[in-house]
Amino acid sequence: MEESLYREIEEIIEKYREEETPLLCVLQEVQEKFHYLPRNVLGYIAKKMNVPSSTVYGVATFYSFFETNPVGEYVIRVCKSTPCHVQGAFNVLQALKRELGLKEGETSKDGKFTLEVTSCLGVCGVAPAMMINDVTYGNLNDERVREILALYRR
């Protein structure tokens, strides 16, 4: 990794030094920069923050919004929590798999899409739901999935 990237990480850590629980904030912001959290970056964060790297790894793998492997330009996260499940999340996931030709956890060859499932997104009122990067989509069905994907395929 380049020297300048390490400096950027250090700056992010410095920014959250006063926070009570800075690790989550740091991981979030570092992920925004790198799109995912590579192993050496996690190790570097651990060392700089004086937190055991096993803890940093535990946190980074616990939350489904943290990625420890490279991801595509758009990360699609389909909610698999109970309310979405009841409202047909399985069908939504099937539709996405069909449309994208991907399985869970896979990234398309052109590097555009990554398909994942996630825990509750907190929008149970519009279940079944998914997120594409920062944007949330609810009341999904096969047709909506196709329409939404079309927006990102352009």
Partner: protein, 588 residues
């Protein structure tokens, strides 16, 4: 932090008492303790699984649930504090059914092949399933399919047998302050992972094996050298030499049903002789040798103004810990090899020459209370004889299994003596097995060698016992020598941080990675708990007291070794064979 009975008794004297009712029986217990602690104080048994004495409690397994009148749900007794007037039912139908169901859920993705497991017979999951009357599997869940992690030279991890109780994680963090492992992922995919998802062998794991002692199931065990040792014993072309560590003679009786704290030295020697070793020698011999070398190293550093405090180097878990976390203290650490490695180097040079054996045909096997010894004997530096000095290192548990496999009943053995000359040792070597022992042995010799006077009191009670950090001082030639002892690396940090900051008042520090020292090592019989550690320690001092010689420098075989072979302590030959160096390691 889960309290010991003794700590709770102490708390009872001071604290406000509350009245609770355990299955109808009134009890007055100190405010602030948990229901589980209250039960143990009052003599009620509550089954537990993720709870462990000396660690924080997290109430994850729900095996210790009890019913509290007025509360809608059962509560985990290990994390629920007592309150005035609480009426607690410990074994109502609801409680028993809940515990059993929770256990069955834990079993739903368990391999259920107890016969094939290292922990068959010492598994807490197995025992609870028996006690709770689980006789069928009601929930046949999806199984885990993790590859077994054999990357570490010491610790084998089989995540398929893991029930995620977290006892290993808490031990590694709270007792050892190493934090090599933690929970990773979530839900069904949760597993215990070394740092950054790397194999354990590439992590900061120091190989101490305390996680193995903490594990209730067969998820963690030692990397076995048993098959290699059978092969060596049965190879007629190999001369197989055994060494047994100080702490093994006070614990190996346990797997054979002898009470903890039974001294089995003679029986143990007889048993291993029958196992087929060509010579049964004693690591205590080289423990005495370590004291001579390390004692002279200390005296030399004091005289020449060398780096102080001098820190002991017998514990390979501590050494790797130092290399990862305190590389700046590398020069403080004694260059002496551990007794295991000194033994290998002497056996394959001095003894091989004496016997006219080509060292390439000699196999040195050690029986150690330790899993880190497996790592130590494979370190690149440990080839002073021109060959790997110690070929294989068995834990006490593995050694007991080998005896059983050959049908040798240790408890029925006659008393026999170690072979000469590498089996002759003193009481000073015996106490190496307990925390404070190396320091005590060193003080006995350093005092007499430096002053030429006889030490009146050989027993240094200040450095004995299970306090995390102990200290003593002794006047030697007008100098007040301050010494300190720590066991468990969390405790050691207290001393090491002082040394690092440059404000340590100590001249000599003993550090043992494992709580209690080697008698509580990661290779010892399971269970190893506080009570058992105390009994083994008492046995160690019994061995010391009953030996005719109790000072390393009076060992006649050691004197002869210097006369015939080594020359001077810390001399050139001694340096080549008995001393080593260390390397800084990444804090991954």
């Amino acid at each position: 932090m889960a309290k010991t009975l003794k700590e709770m008794e102490k708390a009872k004297e001071k604290a406000n008492l509350v009245t609770i009712y355990l299955d109808g029986k009134e009890a007055k217990v100190p405010e602030g303790i948990t229901i589980l602690e209250a039960c143990r104080m009052e003599g009620f048994h509550v089954p537990t699984l993720c709870y462990m004495e000396g660690l924080s409690s997290w109430g994850g397994c729900r095996i210790c649930v009890v019913e509290v009148e007025g509360q809608p749900n059962l509560v985990a007794s290990c994390v629920t504090p007592v309150r005035e007037g609480m009426k607690i039912r410990l074994s109502s139908r609801a409680v028993r059914e809940a515990r059993k169901t929770n256990l069955e859920l834990l079993l739903s993705n368990h391999p259920l092949d107890c016969q094939l497991c290292d922990r068959n017979g010492s598994c807490e999951l197995q025992e609870l399933a028996y006690e709770f009357g689980v006789r069928e599997i009601r929930f046949g869940g999806e199984r885990k399919t993790y590859a077994v992690d054999m990357s570490s030279p010491s610790v084998k991890r089989d995540a398929n047998r893991c029930i995620l109780c977290g006892r290993c994680v808490r031990t590694c963090r709270e007792v050892q302050s190493v934090c090599a492992i933690d929970f990773a992922n979530r839900g069904f995919d949760t597993f215990i992972s070394p740092s950054l998802g790397l194999p354990l062998g590439e992590s900061v794991c120091i190989n101490c094996g305390q996680c193995i002692l903490a594990c209730p199931t067969g998820a963690l065990s030692e990397v076995s050298h048993v098959e290699m040792v059978w092969d060596a014993i049965e190879d007629p072309g190999k001369f197989v030499v055994l060494q047994t560590a100080p702490a093994v003679r006070v614990s190996i009786g346990e797997p054979f049903g002898l009470p903890a704290g039974t001294v089995t030295t003679g029986k143990m020697v007889a048993a291993f002789r029958r196992l087929g070793f060509d010579r049964v020698f004693d690591t205590n011999f080289t423990a005495d040798l370590t004291i001579i070398e390390e004692g002279h190293e200390f005296i030399g550093r004091v005289k020449k103004g060398g780096k102080l405090p001098l820190i002991t180097s017998c514990s390979p878990g501590w050494i790797k810990f130092m290399e990862h976390f305190y590389p700046e203290l590398m020069e403080n650490v004694s260059t002496c090899k551990s007794p295991q490695q000194m033994f290998g180097a002497i056996a394959k040079t001095y003894y091989a020459q004496k016997m006219g054996i080509d060292p390439k045909d000699m196999v040195v096997v050690s029986i150690m209370p330790c899993t880190a010894k497996k790592f130590e004997c494979q370190r690149d530096e440990m080839c002073a004889s021109g060959y790997q000095d110690v070929d294989f290192s068995l834990t006490t548990r593995e050694a007991a299994r080998m005896l059983k496999e050959k049908g040798i009943r240790l408890e029925e053995m006659p008393e026999e003596n170690f072979d000469d000359p590498l089996g002759i040792s003193t009481g000073a070597a015996a106490v190496f097995g307990a925390t404070g022992g190396v320091m005590e042995a060193a003080l006995r010799s350093v005092y007499e060698i430096s002053t030429g006077k006889t030490l009146e009191k050989l027993d240094f009670y200040q450095v004995r016992g299970l306090d995390g950090v102990k200290e003593a001082s002794l006047e030697i030639n007008g100098m007040e020598v301050n010494v300190a002892v720590a066991h468990g690396l969390g405790n050691a940090r207290r001393l090491l941080d002082q040394v690092k900051a440059g404000n340590s008042k100590y001249h000599f520090i003993e550090i043992m990675a494992c709580p209690g020292g080697c008698i509580g090592g990661g290779g010892q019989p399971i269970p190893t708990n506080l009570e058992i550690r105390m009994k083994r320690i008492a046995a160690i001092y019994e061995v010391d007291k009953n030996l005719p010689l109790r000072k390393s420098h009076e060992n006649p075989a050691i004197k002869k070794l210097y006369e015939e072979f080594l020359g001077e302590p810390n001399g050139e030959k001694a340096h080549h064979l008995l001393h080593t160096h260390y390397m800084p390691r990444e804090r991954i």
